[in-house]
């Protein structure tokens, strides 16, 4: 990161707020087993659907489990799903984008038409089609959401590679006898990291939303896993008597994604102001 970029990031109150929220989210995910007051999956039949109290700040669910503890463990699952899906999309998309942008010609045309096909699936339908192929499970949701995001990375990396490829220092390195691998690794990749980091930060939030949605309709995490989307799905039928089972997991998703979005926007402004909409 360049110094002016870091300064811009540190001067933006919204980016700092985003970093703070993301920090709380990360800390909760990492420390869940130490800070959660109760076991997130063990049922407690005598504590079923209890309203929020000092003993159970977020109340209890239909099996008597502490909602706060489940929300805390849920942050671990959401972070895992969001990060792994981003890693899949980022790796596949970056490799494809580099090949397309650096080689051009047939490879470029093939890869770009491939992304056109993936982008032809509306909304979360591609993820649904992948889950349909692999079967409903949390691991398959990560793969599905990751594949769905590949075209965005591939296109962004291709665009950045095309512009970097023309630069004089790349020409100079090529003239000096640098191999293609060295050109890509040392000169091209290093200069297109900004847009990749921005996409990844914004992508974690989006992936958390999609994965929670798939779990909500029963295609992702299966009970008793304390996943936020699956928790909301279970809460739907107790809405009349136990609002807290629906309110807190949803609030957790929203706060986590707001944090990632604010941080992502701040990083974009700091690293690559041209991407700003």
């Amino acid at each position: 990161m360049t110094n002016p970029g870091l300064r811009r990031l540190l001067r933006s109150p919204s980016a700092l707020a985003g970093a703070a929220l993301t920090g709380v989210f990360l800390a909760t995910a990492l420390l869940a087993s130490w800070v959660a007051p109760y076991d997130p999956v063990a049922p407690a039949p005598d504590l079923v659907l209890q309203a929020p109290s000092w003993g159970h700040l977020f109340g209890t669910d239909e099996l008597g489990r502490d909602v706060l503890s489940r929300v805390m463990y849920g942050s671990r699952i959401s972070l895992e799903v969001g990060a792994i899906a981003v890693a899949i999309a980022m790796m596949a998309g970056t490799v494809l984008g580099l090949i397309a942008g650096f080689n051009g010609g047939t490879w470029d045309a093939l890869i770009m038409r491939g992304t056109d096909v993936l982008l032809a699936f509306p909304g979360i339908l591609l993820a649904i089609a992948v889950v349909a192929t692999l079967g409903p499970s949390l691991a398959n949701v990560m793969i599905a959401v990751g594949i769905g995001a590949v075209p965005v990375y591939a296109r962004t990396v291709r665009g950045s590679t095309l512009s970097v490829r023309q630069m004089e220092y790349v020409e100079a390195a090529r003239a000096a006898g640098a191999t293609t691998g060295r050109l890509i690794g040392r000169h091209v990749l290093r200069n297109i990291l900004g847009p990749i980091v921005v996409l990844a930060t914004l992508g974690v939030g989006i992936n958390i939303l999609i994965a929670a949605g798939l779990s909500y309709v029963g295609l992702g995490a299966q009970p008793p896993v304390p996943e936020w989307g699956a928790m909301l799905s279970g809460a739907r039928q107790y809405l009349r008597d136990a609002w807290w089972t629906a309110v807190f997991p949803g609030l957790a998703i929203t706060v986590a994604v707001v944090g990632m979005n604010l941080l992502g926007d701040g990083l974009r402004d700091a690293l690559d102001p041209r991407m700003r909409v």
């Binding site: 096909v117 909304g123 889950v131 929203t254």
Partner: protein, 306 residues
């Protein structure tokens, strides 16, 4: 313009053809044999082999795809494993409620997004602008199914103004449409604001003001007209998001529709039905985007693709 439209339509057809290959291959990558799934685990080997022959599953993959494509072009998408009914019939039956929900949400998202975006761009009160932009950030970050549950809690259970599940008539459409529209409205509000902020300092806007045109007329007649051009493209893309989002919103409100059909089909591993729904939704989305691109040309005569 005719040349561009034809070229664009040709590209759309090619992409849809590729989508059909991909979806066809997906069903062949799934674990388990469709004939065994259809007949159940206890079926005899002879029965499974006979059904495999009837379905054409014993033929080479390219031949199977050829047959699938020819049948699909005739409107025959195969039979549902679960119900035994034609897939095309099931989709056609469940599409109207989903289309109704998606169109209602699109209309709501455009109206709210453009109005709020214009308000944020023109408001002299920094608080109003900050409030609107924060609301749009929350709108983008909030899962639709949670918003749906909150609306059910407030308008269905606490105030008892609107039905909370199923039903017909406009009352049953209000909460699902609001739920589905929120995220798209937030995106459109941000885009309208950004686009208007670029257009407002233009010479023609200044000229209109200098001629004494009222501020409302300058905004709606001069500035917004040009600011909305990029917004139109995004509306096409948002329609796809809304069509996909309907899958989840239909589950929240227990509404009959394509989304719930898809979720049921995945849980029952009903591949012909899943294939049919995915290809159908991609075709609808492709047609909407094609129309938006052509409309874009008509809206902005400065753009020429020829």
């Amino acid at each position: 313009m005719v040349g561009y439209t034809l070229r664009r339509a040709g590209m759309t057809l090619l992409v849809l053809l590729a989508v059909s290959v991909l979806v066809f291959l997906m069903s062949h990558l799934t674990p388990g044999d469709p004939a065994t799934i259809m007949l159940g685990e206890n079926a005899s080997t002879a029965d499974v082999l006979r059904l495999r022959h009837e379905l054409g599953l014993d033929r080479p993959l390219p031949a199977q795809y050829g047959r699938y494509l020819i049948n699909a072009l005739r409107g025959d998408l195969g039979r549902s494993i679960r119900s035994g009914r034609p897939v095309a019939g099931e989709i056609w039956e469940r599409f109207p409620p989903t289309l109704q929900l998606t169109l209602a949400a699109t209309a709501l998202a455009i109206a709210a997004g453009v109005l709020l975006g214009a308000l944020a761009a023109t408001s002299r009160n920094r608080m109003v602008e900050a409030l609107l932009m924060s609301a749009s950030l929350v709108g983008i970050s909030m899962p639709s199914f949670w918003l749906g549950l909150l609306l059910i809690l407030l308008f269905g259970l606490a105030l008892r103004w609107l039905p909370i599940a199923g039903g017909s008539g406009w009352q049953a459409l209000v909460l699902p449409a609001l739920t589905l529209a929120a995220q798209a409205a937030a995106v459109l509000a941000r885009l309208t604001r950004a686009s208007l902020l670029e257009v407002l300092p233009s010479d023609y806007v200044r000229t209109a003001r200098a001629k004494g045109v009222g501020s409302r007329r300058v905004l709606f007649h001069h500035a917004l007209r040009n600011a909305l051009i990029p917004v139109v493209t995004v509306i096409g893309l948002q329609f796809g998001g809304l069509l996909g989002g309907a899958v989840i919103v239909e589950s929240v409100f227990a509404r009959s529709g394509l989304g719930r059909l898809a979720v049921g089909a995945i849980q029952a591993r009903d591949f012909p039905l899943i294939q049919g729904i995915v290809v159908f939704a991609a075709a609808v989305y492709a047609l909407v985007n094609l129309s938006v691109d052509v409309l874009y040309l008509a809206l902005d005569p400065r753009i020429s693709y020829d």
